[in-house]
């Protein structure tokens, strides 16, 4: 006699310790095996894009902070680049260097959070706190500069809200020196841990063509082996002056494009970011006004603009339509996390419930950005 079996619907979230915010995943499971994943989003929707239409161009900047709230600097920066393109503003050398330093520090902070919480999803507590310890130092650097630790509102259209603190360069150098040791520590404790490799290698394999078809960018795409980085391939700001590598997943522990590759690409990217910061610290001009190019009143001509930057999670694009007024007619954001969430159901099919946590951790979504 055959036993009658049925699929169990398991509702994971919006309040669940491992969904990184208010994501709700509707799982259909056969025992422990995931048959289907349906992500439900919208629990954090704040009408960001609609709000922008009622704001003047410079008032939108604090809203961008709140999208991907663990990489606010980059959100500010992307928006600033878009509006500057629309206005045709050229910002000063010093501003560009500070922006690069801030952006790369933000990338390290964001990756530290991503890797730490990825480890946490797998059950490793300690690397999470080690990475947080060093993320705190970055936040202290940001706080020293602009007074905020999470939502900076720092990079403005045409400039910056504050000049850097006199101690900033020295402290950043010290941080860069110390952070390499943390990366080694995390590598020893987590990356090359046998259990961690067992849990993540060959799990959630994202083939390169699927990744391209879904529009994945950032570490998720690079983990699948394609060296595509907007900092190199569509250079913005002054990234062409720095020497750095684009890291790709090589399938060192399993197949190219598995969760471990996506994890390790982030580790390597942090090291590359350190290199960029070091070069920028050496080259930064000591003189310069960071606010001279800030327009008093932003009234761009009619037209549209699309600007994209390499956010820690992937391609962050801003599409702005201007009708010649002081308010934008439309601001559309292309968030990387939203795109990456789409691949969840493909990646999870046939894996166990525990693997789903590894996959969710490895694509590293931020719900503030998914819902906006």
């Amino acid at each position: 006699m055959a036993l009658k079996t049925e699929r169990m619907v398991l509702n994971m979230g919006p309040q669940h310790p491992a969904t990184h915010g208010v994501l709700r995943l509707e799982l259909e499971v056969e025992g422990e095996l995931v048959a289907k994943v349906t992500p439900h989003i919208g629990y954090l929707h704040r009408c960001f894009e609609k709000h922008c239409e009622a704001m003047m161009y410079n008032q939108v900047v604090p809203y961008t902070d709140r999208m991907d709230y663990v990489s606010s600097m980059y959100n500010n920066w992307g928006y600033a680049i878009a509006v500057e393109k629309l206005l045709g503003i050229q910002v000063s050398e010093k501003v560009e260097y500070i922006r690069v330093i801030m952006g790369e520090l933000q990338r390290i902070a964001s990756h530290a959070l991503a890797l730490g919480s990825f480890g946490l999803d797998i059950g490793a507590w300690t690397p999470f706190l080690y990475l947080f310890r060093d993320r705190e130092r970055i936040l202290t650097l940001f706080e020293m500069t602009c007074g905020a630790r999470l939502l900076y509102n720092y990079i403005w259209v045409g400039g910056l809200s504050h000049d850097i603190h006199p101690d900033f360069l020295r402290m950043t150098r010290e941080f860069v020196r110390d952070f390499r040791a943390t990366v080694d520590e995390v590598n020893n404790l987590l990356s090359y841990n046998k259990i961690f490799i067992e849990r993540t290698a060959n799990i959630g394999i994202l083939p390169i063509d699927t990744a391209i078809n879904f529009g994945c960018t950032g570490p998720t795409l690079r983990g699948s082996g394609l060296a595509y980085d907007l900092r190199k391939d569509d250079t913005y700001s002054i990234y062409n002056r720095f020497d750095f590598n684009v890291c790709v997943g090589q399938g060192l522990q399993g197949t190219v494009g598995d969760a471990w590759d996506r994890y390790y690409v982030r580790i390597l990217e942090m090291l590359e970011s350190l290199r960029i910061i070091e070069q920028a610290l050496d080259q930064i001009p000591s003189e310069g006004d960071v606010q001279s190019a800030i327009p008093k009143r932003i009234k761009p001509p009619k037209g549209t603009v699309y600007a994209r930057v390499e956010n820690p999670r992937g391609e962050l694009g801003y599409f702005i339509i201007s009708d010649g007024n002081t308010n934008p007619f439309r601001v559309k954001v292309r968030p990387p996390s939203f795109v990456h969430l789409e691949i969840m159901s493909d990646l999870c099919k046939g894996h166990l419930v525990s693997d789903m946590m590894a996959i969710l951790g490895s694509i590293d979504i931020v719900l503030g950005e998914v819902d906006r």
Partner: protein
């Protein structure tokens, strides 16, 4: 202990109750210390301070937590199975508490001097599975159910390597009594079974590698039996929230936590009894040197608790270092590696003991 109290009080039931209270008091005091230790160990491993406010270095934190937990309301899921739900935490705790009946803390403090101590211990500790399944099933929560399923699968499978190692030790010592096994490893630490046991000659040295292998196997499998990281799959908080006790609030939750810590000590005690000289001192006794006979049982209790706490500390150390395994990897570790090696070890120990 029981005989002494029986003589003193002249009442069997009273003496039994008093004897039973001793491990209970120990468990409560130990839990107070172990929870504090766990918090401090984790904190210092992670560059934190841990609790610092209540008492000296947060030493009274658990009491504060307990006061809070006592006041908690007990909300339950719809359509829960009341009888099973209420019974589960008690049953789980009973299982781990009952194990303490045969654990000899010293030559003078054994709850029950039964001859089949280790057998009884294995039997009652599997009692827990019933409680866990009941808790998971009755709370009418899918996470609890998954957790209970995982937990019972895990405990049942990992009992096999544990039993195989215990079997090999029983074969070697020729007794099931825990205090007798302990007494065989008396005098100095080179008589411990991890170092080949009390024998002399070539057999002792031949035994050392298989003893170390046996120790590793039993330590891993007991770690899995008590659901500690890297085997904390039943209560994997990033997947199943809290596993089988997700729906238990307040004092019932405290019962599950108490059980977890009690079990940590119980399995460490088994390891100590089998491989690390039981309650015997590694260096000889102060009581013998000074000629004070009554000091010896206290010294023994000190050594037993210290050795046990050391292994509890190792469990914490592992927990805060390692990630957790996946449920199928856990099973394959048990069935593909631990059981065959334990069997092989059993045969090797058998051959050596024939020499």
């Amino acid at each position: 202990m029981y005989e002494y109290l029986n003589e003193l009080l002249g009442n069997q039931i009273l003496a039994m109750l008093l004897t039973a209270c001793v491990p209970l008091v120990f468990i409560l005091l130990y839990t107070l210390f172990a929870v504090w230790l766990e918090r401090k160990v984790s904190a210092h491993m992670q560059d934190r301070l841990g609790p610092m406010r209540v008492g000296w270095h947060g030493s009274l934190q658990l009491i504060a937590d307990f006061m809070k937990i006592l006041q908690k309301e007990v909300p339950v899921a719809k359509n829960y199975d009341r009888i099973l739900y209420e019974m589960a935490p008690v049953l789980v705790f009973t299982g781990s508490f009952a194990a303490f009946a045969v654990i000899p803390f010293s030559s003078g403090l054994i709850g029950s001097q039964i001859e089949i101590g280790i057998f009884y211990l294995m039997a009652v500790s599997s009692f827990m599975v019933v409680g866990i399944l009941m808790g998971g099933w009755s709370s009418n929560n899918k996470y609890s159910l998954l957790g209970a399923m995982r937990s019972s699968a895990q405990i049942v499978s990992y009992e096999i390597p544990t039993a195989l190692v215990v079997l090999s030790m029983v074969m070697l010592t020729g007794t099931l009594s825990l205090s007798k096994i302990s007494d065989m490893q008396t005098a100095y630490f080179w008589n411990w079974y991890i170092l080949g046991g009390p024998g002399t000659g070539i057999a002792k040295f031949l035994l050392i590698p298989s003893m170390i292998a046996a120790f590793v196997i039993i330590y891993i499998s007991t770690l899995a039996e008590v659901n500690r990281t890297p085997f904390d799959i039943p209560e994997a908080e990033s997947e199943l929230v809290a596993g089988y006790f997700t729906e238990y609030p307040g004092i019932k939750y405290a019962m599950f936590m108490l059980t977890e810590y009690t079990n940590m000590y119980a399995v460490s005690a088994v390891v100590v009894l089998l491989f690390f000289g039981g309650y015997h001192s590694p260096f000889g006794y102060l009581g013998n040197t000074l000629g004070i006979g009554w000091l010896i049982p206290f010294e023994q209790a000190f050594w037993f608790i210290s050795k046990g706490m050391f292994f509890v500390f190792v469990q914490m150390w592992l927990r805060w270092t390692l990630p957790r395994l996946r449920v199928d990897q856990l099973m394959s570790l048990c069935w593909k590696y631990l059981i065959p090696y334990a069997l092989l070890n059993l045969i090797i120990i058998g051959i050596i003991s024939l020499l």
